[in-house]
Amino acid sequence: MRNVLFIVNKELRSSFNSPVALVTITIFTALIGYYFYNIFASFSTLSFQAQTNPVEAKQYGALNVTEFVIRPFFGIMSLVLLIMLPMLTMRSFAEEKKSGTMELLLTFPVRDIEAIMGKFFGCLALFFLMLALTFPCMALVAYFGEPEWGVIGAGYVGMVLLASAFIAMGLFMSSITENQIVAAILSFAALLVLYMIGYTAAYAGEWLNVILSYLSFTAHFESFAKGVIDTSDVNYYLLFVIFFLFLSMRSLESKRWRG
């Protein structure tokens, strides 16, 4: 545990000295801010029109800030994370292998699992910072309307789980190559496949459909966006994280064997 904390601390220090992490966080925040501005502005226009024009109001049904702002907000965020998180995770092991610092790290009295947990929580800590930068959006919603805090809370919990899964995948990809760019592309591709199979599942055969939808990120994210924290979805993400952290560990071990 102590070792994990030391590695997390070091990862954060390194990240703030590296342009990659800063650029990633900045772009993430800018994109989220931009999308939020768009959704929120069109929502305000709609609700303003609804107040002045009862006919139109009927057409849209009850104008609901959860439906029109919060849910799309998290939907967009999940997509932006899918693109941005591989850039946070790509350097984790790839860079250490390329620069040779892995040789020292692995000869310190640190268990492989501790090294991996350190990297994982290091990335997760950066992600929390990104997430915190989106809080002002929700504050704005609360200022102008009356959002359902339960949905917002569930949405953020879902985001943390989703990001954990993205990070675990990214760490694994970073552990199998020395090239950061390759690591980023591989994890982006793998995540995209898992993101999209939910859509293709509908066209697959019946039992395949069930498997594909189970594997898909999207299916497991929907309930969070509705404000429900379903244990089976939580389990899905936790299993996903454990599975890929385990694979990363095996990959580190095999590095030792092959030298």
Partner: protein, 317 residues
């Protein structure tokens, strides 16, 4: 302190090291000598638990490197050949990170970092990023991280490679001062370095131990063989032939006269005894050749090294 028995490592089909055995006593400074590709780095990487051996066994500080690798790793300091450091950190925070991972108690970390930075002469570089430091100072950071846990065993892989002469002298004297209670293994392909720093040498080549003895003994063993350098004016081919026919001569090497000189140089190696300087002078007198120079020279460590690794007879392995 270190016991190595039959250590073997193959990289797929390729040879790494082959059946290496040796032991190092507590407080000893052992030199690991061999040309590039001999297997020095491979041996050190196995001893530091970076990678496992294909065969054989080894204990460091009383612990088996395979079974109790965490215990071994917390008792060693290792400086890899490439000195891999995090370039985006400053020395104090990097050293604090290593100190933490090596298990120093929280309150000991800061004072220990300052102590070690002082010891290796890094204090005035504290505010720089490691990536901005010169190779010599990076080497010091590397040494500092190896020393931070005050390890019983220090393993240094070619610690002066790539440094300029001034830095080499500085790092060498630093390493010399690290001995005492501590056991040190130091690898190098530079002979004066190990002979200056180490009490005992292991010469390895092509993955095998070729010779192992105290530095003094290795020199003594060769002391009987004597080389004489002679500059003789005369018909070169005949001179060479006659020199080769002298009693006890093993090899004669001829060097053409350099600019402005009239006579060629001959390097004559006698198997043992006092050498044959007197034989050469008599030979020259007999043939009325001009003897310009006659310089006896004892074999140096370089010669031993070349002999051992070129597999000439003369040094028992």
């Amino acid at each position: 302190m270190i016991e190595v028995e039959g250590l073997t490592k193959t990289y797929g089909e390729a040879r790494g090291i082959d059946n290496i055995s040796f032991h190092v006593e507590r407080g000893e400074i052992l030199g690991f000598l061999g040309p590039n590709g001999a297997g020095k780095t491979t041996t050190m990487r196995i001893l530091t638990c970076f990678m496992p051996a294909t065969g054989g066994k080894a204990t460091v500080a009383g612990y088996d490197i395979f079974e109790e690798s965490l215990k071994v790793r917390s008792r060693i300091g290792y400086l890899p050949e490439t000195v891999p450091l995090y370039t985006d950190m400053q020395p104090p925070s990097y050293l604090a990170f290593v100190a933490g991972l090596k298990g120093l108690p929280y309150r000991r970390i800061k004072p220990r970092v300052e102590e070690v930075m002082e010891q290796v002469g890094l204090t005035h570089m504290a505010h720089k990023y490691i990536g901005e430091l010169s190779k010599g100072y990076r080497q010091r950071v590397g040494l500092a991280q190896a020393l931070i846990n005050d390890p019983e065993v220090l393993i240094l892989d070619e610690p002066t490679i790539g440094l300029d002469p001034k830095q080499i002298v500085e790092i060498r004297s630093l390493i010399k001062g690290l001995g005492g209670e501590r056991t040190i293994i130091l690898s190098s392909h530079i002979l004066p370095e190990v002979s200056m720093v180490c009490e005992r040498l292991i010469i390895i080549d092509e993955g095998k131990v070729k010779a192992m003895d105290t530095t003094a003994n290795l020199l003594k063993g060769m002391g009987t063989a004597v080389r004489v350098e002679a500059r003789i004016g005369g018909p070169a081919d005949e001179v060479e032939k006659e020199l080769g026919a002298l009693a006890g001569v093993r090899v004669v090497t001829r060097t053409a006269p350099s600019n402005g000189e009239l006579a060629a140089r001959y390097l004559v190696e006698f198997a043992n005894g006092d050498g044959g300087g007197h034989l050469i002078s008599r030979l020259a007198a007999r043939h009325a050749w001009d003897l310009y120079e006659l310089i006896p020279a004892k074999l140096t460590l370089e010669d031993i090294f070349i002999k051992v690794v070129t597999k000439e007879e003369g040094v028992a392995s």
